[in-house]
Amino acid sequence: MKNILDEIKEGFVYFEGGMGTLLQEAGLKPGELPEEWNLSHPEVIQGIHKDYIKAGSRIIKTNTFGANALKYRGMHTGKKEIPGTHSLSEVIKGAFDNAGAAVRAFPEERVYISLDIGPLGHLLKPLGDLSFDEAYELFSEVVSEGVKNGADLILVETMTDIYEAKAAVLAAKESGLPVMLTCAFDESEKLMTGASPLIVTSVAEGLGADAVGVNCSLGPDQMTGIVRSFAEHASCPVVVSPNAGLPRTENGKTVYDVGPDDFAASMLEIAKAGARVLGGCCGTTPAHIKAMKDAIEREGLKPVPLSEKNETVITSFSKAVTFGKRPVLIGERINPTGKKRFKEALRAHDIDHILQVGLDEQDKGAEVLDVNVGLPEIDEPAMMEEAVYELQGVTDLPLQIDTTDREAMERALKIYNGKPMINSVNGKKEVMDMVFPLAKKYGGLIVALTIDEEGIPKTAEGRLEIAKKMYDEAAKYGIKKKDIIIDPLAMSISAEPDSAKVTLEALRLIRDELKGHTSLGVSNISFGLPERDLINSAFFVEAMHNGLSAAIMNPASEEMMKSWRAFNALNLYDENCMDYIEYAGAYKERMAGLLLQLPEWRQSL
């Protein structure tokens, strides 16, 4: 039998419209819990579903938007005071009974029942009082009730925080059912906590969501920009369910200012912009859905074909970094290797020092922060989880989870707020078997080192072969090539004289022959030599010239930053050289300051 995803591949699919506003019309009081009506007024809920099916909706949404153990007694309610009189199981079962009865009334139609999941009403820590794990557990409970009652798919909707959305999608994916995520954006085209459609798409696709998009928040006309952005970045189908504009009171009744015909006209444009699953949210009615469906059919509109978007993106909760354009700077300083002070901080559990190092890197121009807190004598998984949690409380830069410890990697990936970089996998079977399943589950851009059981190949071609092997193995897990970034390894020229040449050649081959992205720990090239920055910065320029997409480096190194700024200005990555000019101004000032200190410095010699 077909599933909903097949139907969406074939053409437009219509979602149900608003439920809450219709319930208010039927007498739901302000502040009353709508899900209670699943049991107290089943005929009203069934009637609404039936009207929507009649209007052409092929996916109906269970009346479970606010059904969770914070409102209805469930496994995870604990000792909390809750407003619901029925149990969570009861309201969810009631919702499915009503949806099922409505669907059975139309035996000739294939109508899908989506388990509707809305936000929990709490912000996640550190902003609010709910931990990521608690949120995940609360959603898991709803998901398992939905599965038990026969959901065909899961709709996570009206999310205003990508972190909470991640918890919900992660829980929903455990069911094995198709999962859709739609978020509520504001006029600035961002979520409340700052995510853009690109960020929502990257995180959702990383977690394996089957469709992504926007609902609620705005009327259809104000949504077009958001829809375009989703269509530009998403490889999966785009879902759009706007409000019927804004509410107002008319003779003591709430009315919305976009009627069915205007709604249909706007949705036609939204469909042309690339959406293929279409519905409505607050204020929309069966008449809106019918008008929309009729308008699209009258026009004979075909959906914009689905296509794989070949973008390599990582994100924090509010910042996206795209690879393959300007070389990306990954700060390497959150790492104990060779740093006495940092080791002491880890042993003394001095989180502030870690945060300080990260913030300094950000000030100096890092765009991503590598996070490595591995020391033999500490509990690395716990420290990694804490470091990531604390760092994402103070910085909006995306993070690179750098560990060889499976548990540390999983705990960090789980609580990460966005789509991270994962450092690293390599060509060893054992390592691939560990990293790829985690990357598949949580999403992320994986740094893949060209080393395997045989060691590091001496030739560029040998490294290329390992790169191919890793791409192929990742593909078996469904991990796309765009989510792998190859590190062909920089080795010290003092130990291996031709090492720079081999690495540069490997970079070029990966770019030109594999069309892949690359990353390097640049400073390894000068290990054992004096004045390493001189070699590093020259090698950095050559590496960028040969296609390097990202450098793991020390942003405090003036020589490296000079090279990067100049490279960007020379290669059209710096419009009108504005960044360079600003940097040069600050550089001049810094140098003048150093000159003033010169006499003192001489004295001290």
Partner: protein, 216 residues
């Protein structure tokens, strides 16, 4: 009870009128004028806040009944002598929730990792910023009411006087500020984002300019 919608309100950061004197007041300057270098730090904090705020609010208009020291709201009856005297003669209220958004909380965490003094200034700037959101919405509601020939009382928040903090629960059930403005209520009855305000504004037929009792 009539079916009443929750309206959303937002204001652009650049239009937010953050009053420097309010910031000084929150910092405890009283009537004193901050020294030039302090003034500079305060102004810098206000500009930093302005860069990251996403001011939003939601509100509704509801019928109420006042009897003695109690007020009947759509979410239930609340005991508060101070509020019932303050809005005496009103048969309706506006209830709103307003915030400057989560960007401020992040900025605060970031600043706290570096400087405690700057954090204190930032706190004051954030408080003044959310007051500015409330003032802006308050002004709009005042104008709306005036069109009907009605007048607003000074806004009053849960926790003022003897109005119990758990009035927040009712307000949150009524307005769903999580969905409508991105404001959540923690189990402690404190709101997140940190700089958020809920308030009740009496709507009456007569003008009453005074405030409310601050001491019983």
């Amino acid at each position: 009870m009539s079916d009443t919608p929750v309206y959303r309100y937002s204001i652009k950061p650049e239009d937010l009128n953050i009053d420097l004197r309010t910031v000084d007041h929150y910092l405890g300057y009283g009537g004193y004028i901050p020294a030039p270098e302090d003034k500079q730090r305060i102004e810098k904090a206000v500009e930093e806040v302005r860069k990251i705020v996403t001011p939003k609010a939601c509100y509704g208009r509801y019928g109420i009944e006042i009897f003695e020291e109690k007020i009947k709201f759509p979410f239930g009856t609340v005991g508060s002598g101070v509020l019932s005297r303050h809005i005496k003669g009103c048969n309706e209220v506006y209830i709103f929730a307003a915030t400057i958004g989560t960007g401020f909380d992040r900025l605060l965490h970031r600043t706290l990792a570096r400087s405690v003094a700057d954090t204190a200034i930032l706190q004051a700037a954030g408080a003044a910023a959310v007051e500015a959101v409330c003032d802006s919405l308050n002004k709009k509601l005042e104008e709306d009411a005036l069109k009907e020939g009605r007048f607003l009382r000074m806004r009053f928040s849960p926790g003022y006087g003897d109005l119990p903090l758990d009035t927040q629960k009712g307000i949150f059930r009524l307005l769903d500020p999580a969905k409508n403005a991105g404001i959540t209520l923690m189990d402690t009855l404190i709101m997140a984002p940190e700089k958020s305000v809920t308030a009740i504004i009496g709507i009456g037929d007569t003008k009453k300019t005074g405030g409310y009792e601050t001491e019983r």
